[in-house]
Symmetry: C2
Subunit: 244 residues, 2 copies
């Protein structure tokens, strides 16, 4: 499309923030892969998680055609940003192009991803350890953000991942710490103008923000700037209940 009048706007910080919220706040995604038998692009639905470095992850069955496809060709894309009421095209959404990397079940990656995924999708605990289920990390290559009519942006994969991430034990342990911050979770939900103000839980946190869940609702809070130490994140979340 480079030889045509381009509707693409210059990517600014607001666009990057919107892109990250659309990706990191999604419970599920439309997943496009290439069907190995026909070559057709194939779109299906998958539950979505986010690793500590901001990389999206999916949990899929070997019996599902998208898994067969990803093993054959790692190129894929995911669409997140669900329409609510009104015109579906007025709601922002993002397409993230990714290379899918299978996660070895015996690896530390698997333990970390499993813990974060189950904290977000509690019912997945019922089948995550079945022999035919596996995680893929979907390493972002580039992305197309559509913020509504005439608001199109292109982003690099790096703009969607967390630069200074750490997989050290304290960062995995952070999830347990934030899980007990019930009052803080409710205060954060109130600050985010969630409809309900009770029964929220902080399901996970990372350098870029944290996830609030309540039943099947997921809210992603993005910090203004990344917070590079675990205590800083605890303090930041605690502040919600102090100031409200």
């Amino acid at each position: 499309m480079q030889d045509k009048p381009s509707p693409i706007r210059e990517t600014d910080e607001e666009a990057r923030r919107l892109a990250r919220k659309l990706l990191r706040g999604a419970r599920y995604a439309s997943l496009a892969v290439i069907d190995p038998q026909t070559g057709f692009p194939s779109v299906s639905r998958a539950l979505l998680g986010i690793d500590l470095d901001g990389v999206p992850v999916i949990l899929v069955s070997d019996l599902a055609s998208h898994t067969v496809a990803l093993k054959n060709d790692a190129r894929c894309s995911i669409l997140t940003g669900e329409p609510g009421k009104g015109d579906p095209l007025a709601h922002p959404r993002i397409t993230v192009f990714c290379n899918a990397e299978p996660v070895d079940r015996q690896s530390e990656d698997h333990a970390r991803i499993r813990a974060r995924f189950i904290a977000r999708h509690r019912k997945a605990e019922l089948y995550v350890d079945f022999a035919d289920f596996r995680f893929f990390r979907l390493a972002p290559v580039s992305a197309a953000l559509n913020g509504g009519f005439g608001k199109a942006y292109l982003l690099s994969g790096e703009e969607l991942t967390i630069r200074n991430f750490s997989f050290a034990a304290e960062w995995l342990h952070l999830q347990k710490l934030v899980g007990s911050m019930k009052a803080e979770a409710n205060a954060a939900a109130q600050a985010m103008k969630a409809g309900e103000i009770s029964d929220w839980t902080v399901s996970a946190a990372d350098m870029a923000g944290f996830d609030l869940i309540r039943g099947d609702i997921l809210l992603r809070y993005e910090f203004e700037e990344p917070i590079l130490d675990v205590n800083g994140i605890i303090n930041r979340i605690s502040n919600f209940s102090k100031t409200s």
Copy 2:
């Protein structure tokens, strides 16, 4: 996947009905195409219409990357069936593999498709006639229905289209006739246990069923058996207000 234990069930009439309702009752779809520059599968969102023969149609801009992709490679797939509350994977959805056929703006096809599309998506009237917008008919090749965990079915393209369709003038005129059936629309909505029981409109009808709209809500009603004449359809819709 044919050499593996298959989780695919035998397609029965109930599965076909569910597949048709998921496709014909969708306001929008996730659309997967092949990016001509990178070869990646690319998924985006598009408003969905249905032609008189049951073939899904999209209205897209030449400036959008999915349009560029479809002009280069007509193979695509669409995913419909939006999750409500609860586990997203518990909600039925369908992937329909299609060949995209551009609709010539000067053709009778265009006039028919335009009228039906606008009846369903009223805001599209604002841009449907812009020079860079065009319709594609997405001729179904095959489909994969997922009715929830462990309920997977494969369908042929023919099972999703309307066998005895007619593009004769009376069938296009039918849309105007049903548009004035306000009491019947409300009675039909009540029979379908829609939450609201007023302000419904029959936006379109075909041999296989009819569409009810109210603001941004679309409900698809499928007849038990196809009705092959226009008067039969008018009578069938009228019966809702007589029996309620």
